[in-house]
Subunit: 343 residues, 4 copies
Amino acid sequence: MYSFMNDYSEGAHPKVLELLMKSNLEQNAGYGEDTHTAKAKEYIKKLLGNEKADIHFIPGGTQTNLIVISSFLRPYEGVIAADTGHINVHETGAIEATGHKVITVPNREGKVIPEDILEAVRFHSDEHMVKPAMVYISDSTELGTVYTKEEIYKIRQLCNREGLLLFLDGARLGSALASRENDLELSDIAELTDVFYIGGTKNGALLGEALVIVKEELKANFRYLIKQRGALMAKGFVAGIQFEALFSDSLFYELGEHANEMAGRIGDTLKSLGMEFLAPPVSNQLFPILPDEFLEELQEEFLFSVQKSMGNGESAVRFVTSWATTPASVEALCEFLKKRFKK
Amino acid sequence: MYSFMNDYSEGAHPKVLELLMKSNLEQNAGYGEDTHTAKAKEYIKKLLGNEKADIHFIPGGTQTNLIVISSFLRPYEGVIAADTGHINVHETGAIEATGHKVITVPNREGKVIPEDILEAVRFHSDEHMVKPAMVYISDSTELGTVYTKEEIYKIRQLCNREGLLLFLDGARLGSALASRENDLELSDIAELTDVFYIGGTKNGALLGEALVIVKEELKANFRYLIKQRGALMAKGFVAGIQFEALFSDSLFYELGEHANEMAGRIGDTLKSLGMEFLAPPVSNQLFPILPDEFLEELQEEFLFSVQKSMGNGESAVRFVTSWATTPASVEALCEFLKKRFKK
Amino acid sequence: MYSFMNDYSEGAHPKVLELLMKSNLEQNAGYGEDTHTAKAKEYIKKLLGNEKADIHFIPGGTQTNLIVISSFLRPYEGVIAADTGHINVHETGAIEATGHKVITVPNREGKVIPEDILEAVRFHSDEHMVKPAMVYISDSTELGTVYTKEEIYKIRQLCNREGLLLFLDGARLGSALASRENDLELSDIAELTDVFYIGGTKNGALLGEALVIVKEELKANFRYLIKQRGALMAKGFVAGIQFEALFSDSLFYELGEHANEMAGRIGDTLKSLGMEFLAPPVSNQLFPILPDEFLEELQEEFLFSVQKSMGNGESAVRFVTSWATTPASVEALCEFLKKRFKK
Amino acid sequence: MYSFMNDYSEGAHPKVLELLMKSNLEQNAGYGEDTHTAKAKEYIKKLLGNEKADIHFIPGGTQTNLIVISSFLRPYEGVIAADTGHINVHETGAIEATGHKVITVPNREGKVIPEDILEAVRFHSDEHMVKPAMVYISDSTELGTVYTKEEIYKIRQLCNREGLLLFLDGARLGSALASRENDLELSDIAELTDVFYIGGTKNGALLGEALVIVKEELKANFRYLIKQRGALMAKGFVAGIQFEALFSDSLFYELGEHANEMAGRIGDTLKSLGMEFLAPPVSNQLFPILPDEFLEELQEEFLFSVQKSMGNGESAVRFVTSWATTPASVEALCEFLKKRFKK
């Protein structure tokens, strides 16, 4: 049975694994002070067009989020996020566990808009309330949508005016950058945000996120925080080697494109069958709305998750593709859908 | 130049890597709910002789320590450790960052003894001081020494009398179990402690520690804490597969034996040359005391760390071996030492 | 200019101050282990009809809230509160600073209802989300409304079914108990909740809240937490003496009645003038909706706060009365209102 | 039976209480934004000779310590203190509960010396260890000794060189400043430290410590932290009025002098009887070493605490005096001692 459950079902892309194998018996320095890690950082910095950016490889996304937020906020400061934001819902209170409130604004198809941020800032008016100090966005979002350059630019301007940091969670940045809706490059993100990360786990690596700190004032002593939170891997080169493989050529981009291409075929089929979506299908996560009566039947053939009941005999489900999704499995799903719904 | 700097310089043992490759394109369930992880747990439980033990795979040692301690202590409780203990010195305050004081007792060649624990408990007499609630030991210790069954048994008895939990950090348990001084089996440790872990990172894996919760009352909802601290890997199977490879046969033990065999040769050579040690050389970490004037010369040929100056023209250095240490490199070191010191 | 800004503008009720003066030069044991504190606890226990309740006097409300919540929740657990709840909005993230998420439900005139709690519990379905473990309510609420016995009983039943603790913030319990809408006695609250507090600061004391722990399992070692959070006053008798004065006779109740009587006169006047309220005026906080154009004029004569703009040329303002509010000042306000609005 | 147990057995000095009474029915602004608090700050600033110092009144010492330390340190930074320091031993892990390690150095008669600080700084060499960032000293110390200007000046110079903040806990500063060994003025302390506090609780007030922030960079948004930790008293004027009374004339100093005068008489008597002390008796805390066999007898007449057994049939005990200690009680103690020990 083929799984469209998530984008972390398989191991690493074969080229990534190959480099891990090739360098396996080398003696590398510990804690990310090895040459592979150094090379990976150079490749990424070149793409960023920013030689001064600080890059750190961290095992997972929740860890990255909690380290960034707890490192850059003072104890009484809070972070603004969409109510659907990963840090608000799906990290078991990891941010609060470091002492910080997540201040929610309504998501707009998974995204955050400046007007809502401003309202949240104004509401928090004095020392009896937490002080908003950072905006957290993710690209792609929890609903699979992506930000345009214009949208992030406007958030950036607001952040400048209100003295807020801007942090972009790029756990699925590979797919976001490959979206047909996307007009951002990595170098744009490095200019528009203060800190962001490029997700490896969901785009070809066994594990690992490349955190990029752009803002000068945030760079000092950052490795202390990584270590304190348990994220300074003894064998840091295991992450370094993987990012070296992903960024030594265009592999990282190709994997996002493949994931989107696979999702696109499913999305087009669903559209052609007249299905509606919870949010526009533009990256590797699709949220079509299907008849409840059909779900059981579909679950006999494919793995996927049910996002939420629409309350009218229909439910939004989630199909996720990845670098590892095979055209054959996509075709099987499309055929299954067509057989059932074609008039 | 060969490195005796640490036991995390190479990747994974080839058999471990092989299984990772073999299963790379399988679709596995996320977050450690896959069949490889299940198998690895079964193998380990069999060795523990405890089918009811709860096992969780966590990326690294500092993370494991901080999750265990913050999960099992109430906010006002502290953990007793040797002053040399990893949690006291080398985790950047990770335990304190979760809100708990590390209460130190003097190390006895790296170990903790019941008399010192008792004194610490008695000193903390009322609500103006933290309440000692857990004893943290590691096997092998930071000085490379190992506990005997009798020693841990006596600590256990004290813990029972004083209402303390006993937690054993087994980051280097592979080497400890293979020590000629060791008379413990994994099943003994599972009987004598409340919670402990079996280190993979330093004994053949790319990363991963197998945490074993023995005490029934500690088991509930533990995955919440793993997630909250950012240690629930999306691709949990990456750790599961590695422990499957280490424990499906006797590989884990063999790797510890190899490391100790390599260290033993170096230790025997040093002894034959009349060198003293900071602590008895019985596992894969050796702390010989060498003339300061010799260090530079040695550093031109080999990588190792200087532990501390003895203040008399000599310094204790640290040589570490691992599953990957080659006999040739050991012979080179031994020859170098002999040439220099043989009368 | 008379202030209806809040209920903590004056010092202590003269009888409270008198007892402080009378006992001022006695030598009392420190940290609340004195005889006055013991007596105060006995008086309160008698009213609770529960000799086994544990009572602790804590300087302020935010402190009490953060100590209770951080003491009784495990690290991954969250507390459910109304979106208007004091812990959610007006404590500068004090709860999050102890590591816990505040899970909000929509307020219903300031109150929480079982249906919303249940929905929140169901939404938090697995270890990727915090685990709801406590319900926080306050009586009176932030909007001045009060709970009926039936309402709290239903919340209690839900808490029993779902394994949630019930915590009642009684910073303004004196006024709540004196409300004409109230049918609860202190003994009811001690039966229906697991832990609650009786506010002294806003009902006659210089400072101090009497925390009552009813649930047996929550009692152990609680003073450790009070101390750790900096709330174990060296001169604990300063709080003890004040609660002794408030509860040695019916003073505590009389002060709540006076505050409500004063608020009632203002409320009746406003109603007679046809004013609407943000929430029913039943305790010492009133939230009438007044024409914006009138506010400046009113502010020249009286102090009060503007709660929120209604967006239609009107704003909800807040008038608060206390044990110290004088009939003369109330009459002055009522006359001023009548003169302006009487047709 | 008279108590020499501590310096927080009585209420407030009569002049302090008098001002509380006099202003009791005034309507004051909440949260320390009242005119009494403003006046108290002005009086203190004048003594400091520093109009720009930020002053905040906080209910108790443990609270002040935890707010200061958690506000001014980044998450991975630690604070250096004497092993006997209040924050290390007697605050139930309050500092660790905010996430920070207390790094201990050996006390030198209760004091900290630059050489030990420097060694601690050098030991903490990289990101695997916490980063020392603050030195905590108290004047008088836990052993009743006081710092000279020269001693603090040398610590300050070291702090400058090593980039450390200097925080002075003045819970017993009243007695320290009145010591015959003291050559510091409040203005010196304001010049030599970055932040310090002037204890009210142990020198005439019911409660309250006056925190003084001198260093410009530490001032911003400090009230947020006070609020978050539950220390922003609704009736802040209760503390403000008391400090107004203590500092509107020389009362604060006179109370320290009285306490020391009383202690001096006891100390002189003990010396004349040939008794030794754990540390030189120079402030309101004395630690004479008495024969164990005498303790019971003494305990029948006076309250005091036994500090520690000297292991040779003798114990160090603690006698504490305060502004409220009567000459008669001191004379009774001295007579009792003389009768027993005079040859």
